[in-house]
Amino acid sequence: MSDKEQCTLDSSQAKKINLPNAENKNNQIKLTFKSRSENVALARLLASAIVSERDMTLAELDEIKVAVSEAVSNAIIHGYQNDRECWVEMSMELTDNELIITIHDDGVGIEDIEEAMKPHFSQDQDRMGLGFAFMHSFMDKVEVASIPKCGTTVTLTKKLS
């Protein structure tokens, strides 16, 4: 999809958290799946499953599912421009009081993150441009790292009571 030769940084350097850590006692999951719309449901189901051992309200579970759905949809629609043969990487870490989810794509990247995060940035009349707004309202922290032509990593953090 993207022209790897043009990447000035390896995509892993864009990531806010690095999961491999031998001394980390927290449970971690890493999943790579094809950039296909049918995998969005799988991603949000996995996110809600990893916190199922914690005492979560249905509203909180749904907030996590919506945020993951938006981040993965963005990766497929915007990052990969609906190319079904690319890979989306999802990592999750469950700490004592937080769930940290990263969604990474090696797609086109975002030129202007601030602009992309504004509601109704989308030009298509059938798209609401509310993806980032939902992530912000339903998660406690949203971080976006992106390199044009290299990819985007969205890190979603939810505090667990």
Binding site: S52, L58, D62, I77, F134
Partner: protein, 117 residues
């Protein structure tokens, strides 16, 4: 996506009544959109009644389809109503601001179990 489609009389008007079932995300947004467009075209109606009693999840892809239809129907004097949304779905409908332009029923409280997550 399973979608029940009927024509129903309500308030002296003929409505295209649709009851989609399942999770309304980007995987079925196009199918949902095509079903609405085709149903409106075949019936000639500009009144769209969405029964959301069987919708268990919605995100901005699903909401976008509704907004897109509103933008098409509204200038033609058409209308959209949404009935029986689950609480979680209702929350998204209000968070998106759609409740300000579309008539939406009060949410239906649904008891979930952890297995039904």
């Amino acid at each position: 996506m399973e979608i029940i489609s009927k024509l129903k009389k309500y308030q002296n008007k003929e409505w295209l009544y649709l009851q989609p079932k399942g999770e309304l995300d980007m995987a079925c947004a196009d199918e949902f959109k095509e079903t609405i467009i085709e149903g409106l075209h075949k019936s000639g109606s500009r009144m769209l009644w969405l029964d959301f009693s069987q919708i268990t999840f919605i995100d901005s892809s699903g909401l976008g389809v509704i907004l897109g239809r509103y933008r098409e129907l509204e200038p033609m004097g058409g209308k959209i109503i949404i009935t029986h949304p689950h609480e979680q779905v209702y929350r998204l409908l209000t968070a998106s601001g759609l409740h300000r332009i579309i008539d939406i029923d009060k949410p239906v409280s649904v008891k979930y179990t952890k297995e039904g997550m």
